[in-house]
């Protein structure tokens, strides 16, 4: 249509573009909606979903068994009363953080490159928190009483014990889930409207229509919408910091050697961003390839995320150093014994492989070649995912193995059910994610249109420095 003739040549920005050349409102809209509406369900997707769903079934089976027999089917014992369940919980929560960070913090910082990845980063957050939320309930000795942690009026006039970090957890995680959900859904509304209007199949139109709640794109609505969106971002930013801080307090507030460290909250948050971004990459790179989205998720995106990974990785490394330093600086015999057990004890190999994958390997990201090469970046991200799980294992399990009284020193060996619950939760995560990219626009179409608009200079009335921040 007439718009095409008037494409302005891609501006010679020093930075690589955040959207490929030659895109119009239509091309963007169609490309994104086509994935959901027209494109046939690929064999790859089918295979992936089948695999994921198998693990979902494994997950349900494991949960059923744990509920039937008790948490004793796991490897936990005294002194190591917390095992995989808590490790997985912290790991998943951490992964969630990248989504909020990308959509909220980068939004406030006017990072336009976030646009094409924020949608599925947010979805990832949602699914990660879902997986995370299952474990604290499951790991209870009597899971069916989990609601006793919530304050509700009851005949016994019993209340939760609000000094316990676990109650803080409950509130933090639920709040985090709720806010992430709102943020995600609000972001979806205009795109749902788009799908409603693009779709030809009546049933599909009705479904998306209902979800879009009758969005018309009125200028007045856009205004309030935008205000709400920015406010949410402003709220989500401190929230995302608080959530992993609270999680870290589960350990920092306890007094056992290896847990009782004031450095935990900041370096847990850094660790969360670290693991979150690595997970975003782990998901984005294959999706980008499969759905040919190289134009939307460009090399620049990879490059930037690589840099974020590197930065947060260095903060995490600093956290490790500080923790170790404080251990020996404090001169506390128990802390020192704990540290020695980590470095040289029977489970030392876990600690050192964590150092390798969280501190050593990420240093590769200093190299442009690694950051800008999808495959290399993908491999690094994978390693970091594993490394961050190991970090939580070291903190939770290794610390418990060596408590104050040597007579009660113990060890922890995971059982089949420990592993099956972990794999199962990964399966659940994957399944949810695959369903998402199949049923919902994985890239925010209206924000991409804004990019197009700014790229094409369609907003002639604006001054130069406002380019690329159309709606600000």
């Amino acid at each position: 249509m007439s718009a095409e003739e008037r494409i302005s040549p891609m501006d010679s920005d020093a930075a690589a573009p955040v959207i490929g050349p030659g895109h119009t409102y239509r091309s963007v809209t169609e490309k994104i909606s086509a994935i959901v509406l027209h494109r046939r369900t690929g064999r790859g997707w089918m295979a992936g979903f089948a695999l994921a769903f198998f693990f979902v079934l494994v997950f349900f089976a494991s949960i059923a068994y744990v509920l039937a027999r008790g948490v004793g089917v796991w490897g936990i014992n005294v002194p190591v009363a917390w095992g995989f369940a808590i490790v997985n919980f912290v790991w998943w929560i951490g992964i969630g953080h990248a989504g909020t960070l990308i959509s909220a913090v980068l939004l406030l910082l006017h990072q336009e490159w976030r646009t094409s990845i924020n949608r599925f980063a947010e979805s990832m957050t949602l699914f990660a928190v879902t997986c995370a939320g299952i474990f604290p309930v499951l790991h209870l000795g009597r899971p069916w009483y989990f609601y006793w942690l919530a304050p509700y009026p009851n005949v016994m006039s019993l209340w939760p014990q609000f000094r316990s970090p676990l109650v803080w957890d409950l509130f933090a995680v639920l709040t985090y889930f709720a806010v992430s959900l709102l943020f995600w859904y609000v972001g979806l509304i205009p795109d749902l409207a788009t799908l409603r209007d693009v779709a030809r199949n009546r049933f599909v139109r009705v479904v998306y229509g209902v979800l879009a709640m009758g969005w018309r794109g009125s200028a007045v609505h856009w205004h309030r919408y935008h205000v709400a969106y920015v406010l949410l971002a402003g709220l989500a930013t401190p929230l995302v910091v608080s959530v992993h801080s609270v999680v870290s307090l589960d350990f920092a507030a306890a007094q056992i050697p290896g847990w009782h460290a004031t450095v935990f909250p900041p370096y847990f948050v850094a660790g969360a961003i670290f693991s979150g971004f690595s997970m975003v990459l782990t998901l984005a790179i294959p999706v980008r390839k499969v759905y040919g989205l190289e134009d939307f998720i460009t090399t620049r995106h990879l490059d930037n995320m690589g840099k974020v990974l590197l930065a947060s990785g260095c903060i995490v490394a600093y956290g490790y150093c500080l923790e170790t330093f404080m251990t020996f600086y404090s001169g506390d015999v128990h802390e020192i014994a704990q540290a020695n057990a980590r470095f040289f004890g029977p489970s030392a190999w876990i600690f050192w492989s964590l150092i390798a994958s969280n501190v050593v390997i990420p240093q590769l990201l200093w190299l442009r070649g690694i950051r800008r090469n999808a495959r290399n970046l993908f491999l690094v991200a994978l390693v970091i995912n594993v490394g961050m799980w190991l970090e939580r294992y070291v903190i939770v399990v290794l610390s418990l193995e060596r408590s104050f009284v040597p007579s009660e020193w113990g060890s922890y060996r995971p059982t089949f059910w420990d592993v099956s619950t972990l794999l199962g939760s990964i399966g659940l995560f994957a399944a949810l994610f695959l369903l998402f990219i199949r049923l919902l626009p994985m890239i925010s179409a209206f924000e991409m249109r804004e990019l197009v608009a700014s790229r094409r200079g369609d907003l002639a009335t604006e001054s130069a420095e406002e380019r690329g921040r159309v709606h600000e």
Partner: protein, 189 residues
């Protein structure tokens, strides 16, 4: 049929944000007051042009947050000091530092809920039906095209004159928006 049906307004279609913005500003200059623009992406300044004024949303969010904050702290204070005071590890009943995390979380939760629900409420959403959906072309409003609608309730509204005015603004097309649903072309949903 059509002649019989009341008119909701006139809908002008544009292909660029700048154009619709320009049109809206000129329409306001003409003295039109009851109009709205519909765009596939937020356009800076458009809402001032079609409907000047500020939104009350931030105030609502502030109130919501304040409620969450006060309520959260009260909840904990009441539970641990009034309703169920107990010696827990020799800690004081009113262990205020321990109450901070939950207070904060509830603040954020309530503020966030207010922001979204407030936005939807003020926008009058969800609203499954609207006269504009009667216009087939309006589908493009969520994808590629930009619309300005001057409503018939506007005092200066006159079918012919307004149509001409809109065409002068360089609209790609100008369509009447009927109030009634036409059975053949029902806009979703």
């Amino acid at each position: 049929m059509r002649s019989a049906s009341r008119i909701y307004g006139l809908l002008a279609e544009f292909d660029r944000p700048a154009a619709v913005l320009d049109a809206a500003q000129r329409a306001r200059a003409q003295g039109y007051t009851r109009m709205d623009a519909y765009t596939p992406l937020p356009v800076e300044g458009l809402h001032e042009a079609v409907h000047p004024g500020r939104t009350r949303l931030p105030l609502l969010v502030l109130l919501g947050g304040a409620f969450g904050c006060a309520g959260g702290y009260f909840l904990q204070w009441y539970a641990n000091v009034v309703a169920y005071p107990w010696n827990i590890g020799g800690r004081p009943h009113h262990s205020w530092p321990a109450f901070i995390p939950i207070t904060f979380e509830l603040t954020v939760l309530c503020a966030g809920l207010t922001a979204v629900l407030g936005m939807l409420a003020l926008n009058g959403l969800p609203r499954p039906h609207h006269p504009l959906f009667n216009v087939p072309r309006f589908e493009l409003a969520s994808g590629t095209h930009f619309f300005l609608c001057i409503e018939s309730s506007d005092p200066r509204f006159d079918l012919e004159e307004t149509r001409r005015f809109l065409e002068e603004l360089g609209a790609m097309s100008v369509t009447e928006v009927p109030e009634l649903i036409e059975p053949t072309e029902g806009g979703a949903p």
